[in-house]
């Protein structure tokens, strides 16, 4: 049973959202393709980052909890992680967008981006030798600058609020992966490479890079969705 741990975590994350996608009130199934394209595009840099970090020993996997199929040093589950987690996230964002009138959250973009960029930049400057912290802080800063000042995305606050709510799912999923409730963590971290500030057993960097990944998937999701149906007004 043990070797199914990781794959089961992913399965349970996806299955509820997947079934709900076909609901008449939701109809997220029509957006499967734009979502898949977005997730794959974003997965490329993040999986490369993952492979590189595994090679450098910043983190490593406990293969007792995986099916044992490997690709570039990553268990197959880790590859699927970059499709299934974004799926649950984009699905949630899509639903919130459909059910709430929350366009006015735009007003918070400036405060949010201003504060996040200052905090991330200062952390990046202060921890140049902790690779995981540095890479996370830089990619978050660059992503926020790109989305706010270049793309001028209006949905940053909406996405951030969604991510905050998603933390309810993130905590158990990433908690188990990093060792909450099981004998050994599925993913182990070299504590010299990050701040070692943890929520349960989850390094704070995980939450932040998950945020960046989420923002980018939403961005590409909008892009591909726009191409798909020009007629529908984009929310």
């Amino acid at each position: 049973m043990r070797q199914y741990t990781y794959i089961l975590i992913l399965f349970f994350t996806v299955i509820v959202c997947f079934i709900a996608s076909f609901d008449k009130r939701i109809k997220f199934d029509q957006y499967f393709l734009p979502f898949l394209k977005a997730a794959i595009i974003v997965a490329i840099p993040f999986i490369s980052w993952d492979i590189w970090f595994t090679l450098k020993g910043i983190w490593w996997f406990n293969f007792d909890y995986t099916l044992g199929i490997q690709l570039f040093g990553l268990p197959i589950e880790e590859w699927l992680f970059f499709i299934s987690i974004p799926f649950a996230c984009v699905f949630t964002y899509y639903c919130m967008n459909n059910f709430f009138r929350w366009e006015h959250l735009i007003g918070f973009n400036n405060i949010l981006v201003f504060t996040s960029i200052i905090v991330c930049s200062v952390i990046a400057l202060l921890h140049p030798h902790q690779t995981y912290t540095l890479v996370t802080a830089i990619s978050t800063t660059v992503t926020l600058i790109f989305l706010h000042f270049i793309v001028r995305a209006t949905w940053i606050s909406k996405a951030s609020l969604t991510y905050l709510i998603l933390m309810l799912g993130f905590l158990p999923v990433n908690g188990i992966l990093t060792g909450t409730g099981i004998d050994h963590p599925v993913v182990n971290y070299n504590s010299k490479t990050f701040l070692d500030i943890r929520i349960l057993t989850i390094p704070i960097e995980d939450a932040v890079y998950g945020y960046t990944q989420f923002l980018l998937v939403i961005y590409f999701f909008y892009q591909f969705r726009k191409k798909r149906d020009q007629k529908l007004p984009l929310k």
Partner: protein, 152 residues
């Protein structure tokens, strides 16, 4: 002591904002600030929002060098600026310009006066003329205006 520095910075930022607004935003960087007055920019975002960068860079520098020296006064000056920035966006973007319909029906005279003063500032569409460049500090005449009305 550090908290005191932070609060002092916060207050001094009001003066700095006044100067920056009057001489820089309505000066050589008018191109960025213009659309905040005439709303010429399409969509919800304004070029004016780029001003945040001008405030973020020194803040990052101060907080960084402050942390290098065991979080000394530089860090707290930076923190003061950051908090002022947050207050600014909160009050200016959200409350005054109602980017979010929040506290739209306030009766508090200070807030009414602040909004009134800022509207006065926005009345002028060109770069040269202008009044009420400040922000949290509201000129007394506006406070007085609402002082009387709130008594009724």
């Amino acid at each position: 002591m550090n908290i005191l520095i932070m609060i002092l910075t916060f207050c001094l930022m009001e003066g700095a904002t006044w100067l920056i607004h009057k001489y820089i935003m309505h000066g050589f960087l008018w191109i960025l600030h213009k659309d905040h007055h005439d709303h010429s920019n399409e969509g919800a975002l304004e070029k004016n929002d780029y001003f945040f960068v001008i405030f973020a860079l020194p803040t990052i520098a101060l907080m960084y060098f402050g942390s290098l020296h065991h979080f000394n006064y530089l860090f707290f000056i930076g923190l003061g600026i950051m908090l002022y920035g947050m207050a600014y966006f909160f009050v200016h973007d959200i409350f005054i310009h109602q980017r979010i319909k929040l506290f739209a029906n306030t009766n508090h005279r200070y807030f009414l006066a602040m909004r009134r003063a800022h509207k006065q500032h926005h009345k002028h569409l060109s770069k040269e003329e202008g009044e009420c460049f400040g922000f949290l500090f509201v000129p007394f005449k506006y406070l007085k205006m609402y002082h009387n009305s709130s008594k009724k």
